[in-house]
């Protein structure tokens, strides 16, 4: 599906109003929906954000050219529903960033049809394909490649796909062609690939398997399990082996001045032979509404502590060049900003540990959570607290996250010290 971008405020307003009209009509239709009849829901959401930048960051010289800390608000209108075999999730979003005119985008996050032909089941269109049994990090999420643990995350955007699904009494398999016609694209989630997904239920355990082939990673083979050994305890594990992997890392230490000042070469793609990803975890829940989640993982495709230390050294070398004759300040800022793309890689902790304590008022409206993520390799950490209230139609969310750790730890190097958000949504 093509993403539409529009910037003129009047155009945004018209489109939002049109969408609101469509949504209202849909909401009316949904009241009497039966199987096959249109059935739609509409949600309006306002999210306000605040960020505290780390002005003493080694990467501070490039911050002005990045998006770090700029997000201020987001207004979303969301339509979700189904007409016949067609499922839709459409969002219209207006975003405000510090020092930038508000911008808008209209996205078909999902638009797909689930079909049955000759006793076989197919899906075609754009659909979310997230998968895996884990919470903080998902080795088996080889198609959607969802960024986990985002604060006030926007709706996921699906992947163009075609799948053939087969179901038995206690199992299933799906053959999925993702991004048909694509070879290697800018991001891994945009690559064309073929995947076979297998599911089997054995007693109180779910077993999952995946085999995927893509130009970028070659063959990927993964397996996961989730089991419930008692009324209160759930255990899960997930592992993936890739034929090849890659990660974005800084230049080698002996890089020339010209290389250091080039934004295009601030990071290089490092190939990794047969990397592995593994996660184990579990959740315990009490009758009083408390739950404790613990997960430990290893991600062989994440930059190593040595890579983050090299990023710091290069930022220092660039800062030292600043002000020297013949060295434009813009080049220093541009190359430093480009090097912050290292944070765009989904997982920053090669060996990670997440502990999450959550509480939900039994049968009630309130819920709260606190989670600590620790990177065991470099000592970096994040601390996140969140609070939510769910009413009849209204929902309120608020959260706060802090980043910390030793000076050269990945989470400590993030140009943000803390972030906070409040969100309010109304569903029809």
């Amino acid at each position: 599906m093509k993403r539409l971008r529009f910037t003129a405020p009047s155009c945004q307003r018209r489109l939002l109003h049109c969408l609101a009209g469509l949504l209202t009509a849909s909401a009316t239709l949904s009241a009497g929906a039966e199987d096959g009849a249109p059935d739609f829901g509409w949600t309006s959401r306002l999210v306000g954000e605040g960020h505290e930048l780390r002005r003493d960051s080694p990467l501070a010289a490039g911050l002005g050219l990045t998006d770090f800390g700029r997000d201020r608000y987001r207004i979303e209108q969301e339509l979700r529903g189904r007409v016949g075999p067609l499922s839709l999730l459409l969002t219209a979003t207006e975003s405000g960033q510090e020092g930038v005119k508000p911008s808008g985008r209209f996205v078909a996050n999902e638009a797909y049809a689930d079909l049955s032909l000759g006793g076989q089941r197919f899906s075609v269109g754009k659909k979310m394909l997230s998968g895996d049994v884990a919470y903080a990090f998902r080795p088996l999420d080889v198609l959607q490649r969802e960024s986990r643990l985002q604060l006030a995350a926007p709706q996921l955007e699906g992947i163009p796909m075609l799948s053939w699904d087969n179901f038995t009494a206690d199992g299933a398999w799906s053959l999925v062609i993702a991004n048909p016609g694509h070879q290697r694209r800018g991001e891994a989630r945009e690559d064309g690939s073929v995947a076979l997904k297998i599911y089997r239920r054995v007693g109180a355990a779910d077993l999952h398997g995946v085999l995927r082939n893509s130009n970028r990673y070659g063959l990927e083979l993964g397996a996961a399990a989730s089991m419930v050994p008692s009324d209160a305890l759930e255990l899960h594990a997930s592992a993936l082996l890739q034929r090849r992997g890659e990660r974005q890392v800084p230049l080698a230490d002996g890089a020339s001045v010209a290389q250091l000042l080039s934004a295009d070469s601030a990071l290089v793609t490092e190939a990794i032979a047969t990397p592995r990803k593994v996660l184990v975890g579990g959740t315990w829940t009490s009758a009083e509404g408390y739950s404790l989640l613990g997960e430990f993982w290893w991600d062989g495709t994440t930059p190593t502590p040595a890579d983050w230390q090299r990023l710091v050294r290069q930022a220092a070398r660039r800062a030292a060049l600043s002000g020297l004759p013949g060295v434009p300040a813009a080049a220093v800022a541009g190359a430093t900003a480009a090097s912050t793309r290292m944070f765009d890689q989904g997982n920053l902790a090669q060996r990670g540990l997440l502990a999450r304590l959550a509480w939900s008022e039994p049968g009630g409206a309130w819920s709260a959570s606190v989670d600590v993520l620790k990177s065991l390799g470099d000592g970096g950490w994040t601390l996140t607290t969140a609070l939510a209230w769910q009413g009849e139609r209204l929902r309120f969310d608020a959260g706060l996250r802090r980043y910390g750790g030793p000076a050269d730890a990945a989470y400590r190097l993030l140009p943000e010290r803390a972030a906070a958000f409040v969100g309010i949504s109304l569903a029809y």
Binding site: W42, R82, F167, A232, E234, A287, E392
Partner: protein
């Protein structure tokens, strides 16, 4: 001495004979009692779900201190073999699904497209306890005995003490009161695993398609005193889904209207 041995032998033979003859007799009495209770439960179940498979449209109203707090809509598909699929139909929960296969449970959140295996405890903590909505029969899940008769709200009732026969039942023990006259459910005391009284259920009958059916179940929470819940059964249809729909992997598909 010989006389004492003879007396002891006679006592041992008598005891053995009592065991050999008495246990089957006792077993027969218990089996008859079991069959009677099963028959009573089957009759009571018919007032809640008079079909083996079907779709039940349910509206759940939760009250806090007597004031309406929330209203939630669910479509529940039931199939023999302890299979139920709950579709959440309220605007704030649209797209959520819960699948229950015996003692195993899965929850599907629309934002992730990933069925989550959840524990019995997590199922119980859900809003309005989806277990209360998805469980429409006692006969398949409970055994017990009649422990007396009582009058509830002026209705003479049989009092049954029931014990869950599966690990996954929401309430391991139920004290059920059935009307003596036609065996329709009048009241149920629902006990959690610690044998604490969790909820008191009262059943309201109405005439649906010419027959008497439970139209409202009121749950008075005894653990959270200010809470009560009304489960309104809006419709019951004999729509049957194929087995595919009761496969956890199928939850990511949208073949059903939410």
């Amino acid at each position: 001495m010989f006389k004492r041995i003879a007396l002891l032998s006679l006592a041992a033979i008598s005891l053995a004979a009592l065991c050999i003859l008495g246990i089957p007799l006792c077993g027969q009495v218990m089996a008859a009692e079991d069959a009677k209770v099963k028959a009573l439960l089957k009759q009571a179940d018919a007032y809640r779900l008079a079909m083996e498979s079907g779709r039940v449209e349910t509206e759940v109203r939760t009250f806090r201190a007597g004031v309406l707090d929330k209203t939630r809509l669910y479509a529940v598909y039931l199939k023999p073999g302890h299979r139920s699929l709950v579709l959440f139909r309220t605007a704030t929960e649209r797209g959520q699904k819960m699948l229950m296969l015996g003692d195993d449970y899965w929850l599907m959140m629309p934002s992730s497209q990933r069925p989550l295996r959840i524990t019995a405890m997590q199922k119980l903590l859900g809003e309005a306890s989806t277990g209360d909505v998805a469980t429409m029969t006692w006969g398949e899940d409970y055994d017990g005995r009649q422990v007396g008769e009582e009058t509830i709200d002026g209705v003479p009732c049989l009092k049954l003490d029931l014990v869950g026969q599966r690990k996954g039942v929401s309430y391991p023990r139920i004290v059920l009161y059935l009307a003596k006259k036609d065996h329709h459910p009048v009241q149920a005391e629902l006990y959690v695993a610690s044998d604490k009284l969790a909820k008191l259920a009262r059943f309201q009958l109405g005439t649906v398609d010419g027959r008497k059916q439970v139209t409202v179940m009121t749950l008075i929470d005894h653990l959270q005193k200010e809470r009560s819940t009304e489960v309104h059964y809006l419709s019951r249809t004999d729509k049957t889904l194929s087995d595919d729909y009761f496969n956890p992997a199928f939850l990511v598909r949208a073949d059903l209207t939410q």
